[in-house]
Amino acid sequence: MFGYIRPLECELKVREQAEYRAFYCGLCKTIGTRYGLCERLSLSYDCAFLAAFLSALSGGAAFYRGNCMPRCYRGGRPIASASPELDYAADVNVLLAWYQSCDDVLDEGRLPAVVSRAALRRAFHRAARRHAALDGEIRGCVSRLREIEKKNVASTDEPSDAFGTLLSAVIRRAPMLPQGDAAACGWMFYNLGKWVYLIDAWDDREDDKKRGGYNPFLSTNMDADAAEFLLNVTLAEAEKGYDLLTIDPPSGLIENIMRLGMRSVQRRVLRPETAACAGRAQRTGKGEAR
């Protein structure tokens, strides 16, 4: 995906930051054991959030002290232990990375995109076999999105609806999701998907203008204020879904992402000149998150 769902690190407690990194490392390792070394490069912040969120819903995760082989100089640090939540997040990560790279190939057709898609092919087939129903739903949403792009639909609602439906499928298909939370989670992730799609579209506006690609903000000719309005409403709705969940014990990390992290990312994308946060979230560029 796009790496927009992440915490505002300067507001995290040290313990929560360690927890977040533990999920990030744990997810990377899980992708490594389930798929392979190359596939680890597709790791995204959004799926780290998915892993942390699913773990928080099912009562928290276990951690162990471990090392990261490529970055062993950093010494031991907590890493999330293997769990069904991490496995699911890893599978989703591979599926989304695959469809993302397909999209890149169709859009740009340049060599890096082709190479990364080829590298993901084997892993994708394995993930799709594991979650055939989810893969079918994602495929449906992606082709609907393609259709909308082809028709150059002048609406922000339609394309973001397709992506929101995709993300809500991801959470509803999670095998460990408590039944009572399905409706609230579905609404929360639907709106998260919408928000991710729109913020990415806003971020890519200049590029799309140059390339002549489809962008809902260009086709509707929307200004920053109107875009911010829509994004705020979408986030507020995602929070309404989140508010109805029972996360026990409460997770400060998820709370930070939902209330501060995404709002800070949104400010940075919409108004880069005013959002000057001293945190890491500010300095890390978008490319790193992919």
Partner: protein
Amino acid sequence: MNPYKVLGVSENATQEEIRAAYLELVKKYHPDKYADNPLKELAGEKLKEINQAYEMLTKKQNTTSGYGPSGARGASGAYGSSSYGPGYSTREHGSPYSGPNAAEFARARSLINQNNLNAARAILDSVPTHNAEWNYLYGIIYLRQGWYEKAYACISRAYEMNPDNADYRSAYTYLNNSGRPYARSNGGAFNSDTCCDACSLLMCLNCCCGGGC
């Protein structure tokens, strides 16, 4: 049900703490917030649970505090005089619509409340009068569906056509407030500008006052 857990307070919390937690939760699950949301029922259930828990705790500590069980809800008077029962809403409601196609609109409204959006849309599509009520109902459908660009267009149109209707006005105001949160604390507080301004202002004052006076 453990009322302490529901309210998220410790078992030896004081009356004030319990009340503060209760008010916080009421705000979180307020019927106004979920009025046009597909999760309305879920929020209503949550609120019912919170009210029960609060009642249990205030009843229990009745002897040591001034809050009686009947006064428990009245105690939320800090927000105004309304009580927060599950069926209550402080949002104003307009008088029932009585124009052309009143029967269809009433049916569409109840279908929307049951979250049967497609059936409601089918009824609205068959109605030839596209007046304020039509736009409002369509706006609510879009809102529940998550299509906020269209929802805002429809609800604004309804409000402009008939600004006196309480339903249209409150939906319009609510949407505007959620899209333009004027007082978001945190997160945005990292603008170093304000801090620098204060510092440089003090420095200037220092120079002026120190040198001049």
